[in-house]
């Protein structure tokens, strides 16, 4: 019973806040959206990252370590280990986030001189392993499909993701979420292999969330649609990369009484070994 009431408190926070939906971004993928990049066979990617969300008087900061391994030249898998610190007005909580396992398979690749087009599917399972104070208490998943065009100067990506959420012990289930991404990128200056390289990115990210349910009943102050415009940068040198971006809401249609997102920010450091 104690567990149940604790879960209900957490549900209240999640109904208001929701979860960050972030699938691992590898190499020259968008900062917030999903791209088709994987990792070379036998390669290891180490990526510490920090994400922050602010919505009214609510803040959420997530520190995470992503580890990815290249199974083949077109197939990668890894884990994401997050730590979460969040507050809602005067209430705050922090702790280990749910550990995720993920995989991405590039099923189509068309290479030309200085050009690569590809498509990939991605799957992420978020296990119910984190501290109760900062997690939903359910096992959730994200399935994604993405296309990418990468040239020496221009980049473009498109992706769709669907997040399906499980039900926790208290009978609460966050609403499923559909995400759409349209992204463009430009490399202003073509650089050589060992020179520092910069790509500027502009993303349009849409999110449509269903109502959270508690024992099968829709929670009115949950769900809705948000669109973000997200400028970002991708800076690399040989096997090291820095990715950063900020999501700025441009349209919002949230159900009931909910605080709209002020911004989301993300910074990733990435090494390929």
């Amino acid at each position: 019973m104690r567990l149940k009431s604790r879960h209900l408190n957490h549900i209240a926070i999640f109904v208001l806040f929701g979860k960050l939906v972030s699938m691992p971004a590898m190499a020259h993928d968008p900062v917030f959206g999903l791209g088709p990049h994987v990792l070379f066979k036998g390669g290891v990617e180490i990526a510490p990252e920090v994400k922050q969300v602010k919505a009214g008087d609510k803040d959420k900061t997530e520190l995470a370590l992503e580890l990815t391994y290249g199974l083949t030249g077109d197939w990668a898998a890894g884990i994401d280990i997050p730590y979460i610190d969040q507050s809602n007005g005067s209430n705050s909580a922090s702790g280990q986030g749910d550990l995720s396992v993920f995989t991405k398979y590039r099923f189509w690749r068309d290479d030309g001189p200085g050009l690569q087009q590809s498509m990939a599917v991605a799957l992420q399972i978020e296990t119910d392993t984190g501290d109760d104070a900062v997690n939903s208490g359910s096992t959730d998943g994200v399935l994604g499909l993405t296309y990418g065009y990468e040239g020496r100067k221009w980049y473009r990506w498109a992706a769709a993701r669907y997040r399906f959420n499980g039900e926790n012990d208290a009978g609460a289930q966050q609403g499923d979420k559909l995400l759409l991404d349209l992204v463009g990128g430009i490399r202003m200056k073509r650089t050589g292999y060992l020179e520092p390289d910069t790509v500027w990115i502009l993303e349009l990210n849409g999110e449509s969330t269903q109502n959270t349910q508690l024992n099968g009943l829709d929670q009115l102050n949950s769900g809705g649609t948000e669109w973000f415009v997200s400028p970002g940068i991708f800076w690399t040198k040989r096997n090291f990369a820095v990715k950063a971006g900020i999501q700025v809401p441009v349209a919002s249609n949230l159900n009931g009484n909910q605080q709209e997102t002020d911004y989301r920010a993300k910074l990733v450091l990435e090494w390929h070994l």
Partner: protein, 105 residues
């Protein structure tokens, strides 16, 4: 007599050292690779090429889609290169090889 033997032995040693170490077969590969759009993504190529014994130098010209590799006493075959670039996430197209004898010292 003693002087003659000493000189002969010295000469043989010198000749032996020169014939063994002075020159090596050096090959320069100019490899046409498709899909080379970003330098960061191409790091796997560098790592895989440098793991081959005998590879002494590599560089990439992304604009021209050319990977240049210098090797000593090793041959890179088409099948090997096709697999290597595929495992790196790119497509091997063709190669040109030029061979020279170079001093290894």
């Amino acid at each position: 007599m003693k002087f003659f033997i000493k000189n002969t032995l010295m000469s043989l040693l010198l000749l032996s050292a020169m014939s063994h170490n002075a020159f090596a077969d050096t090959s320069t590969y100019s490899i046409r690779v498709d899909g080379l759009a970003c330098p960061y993504c191409a790091y796997g190529i560098e790592k895989k090429l440098n793991a081959i014994e005998g590879v002494k130098f590599m560089n990439m010209n992304l604009d021209e889609g050319i990977v240049t590799v210098k090797t000593q006493n090793v041959t890179l075959g088409d099948e090997q290169l096709k697999q290597l670039f595929n495992d790196s996430g790119f497509t091997y197209r063709s190669k040109k090889v030029s061979q020279t004898k170079e001093s290894s010292k």
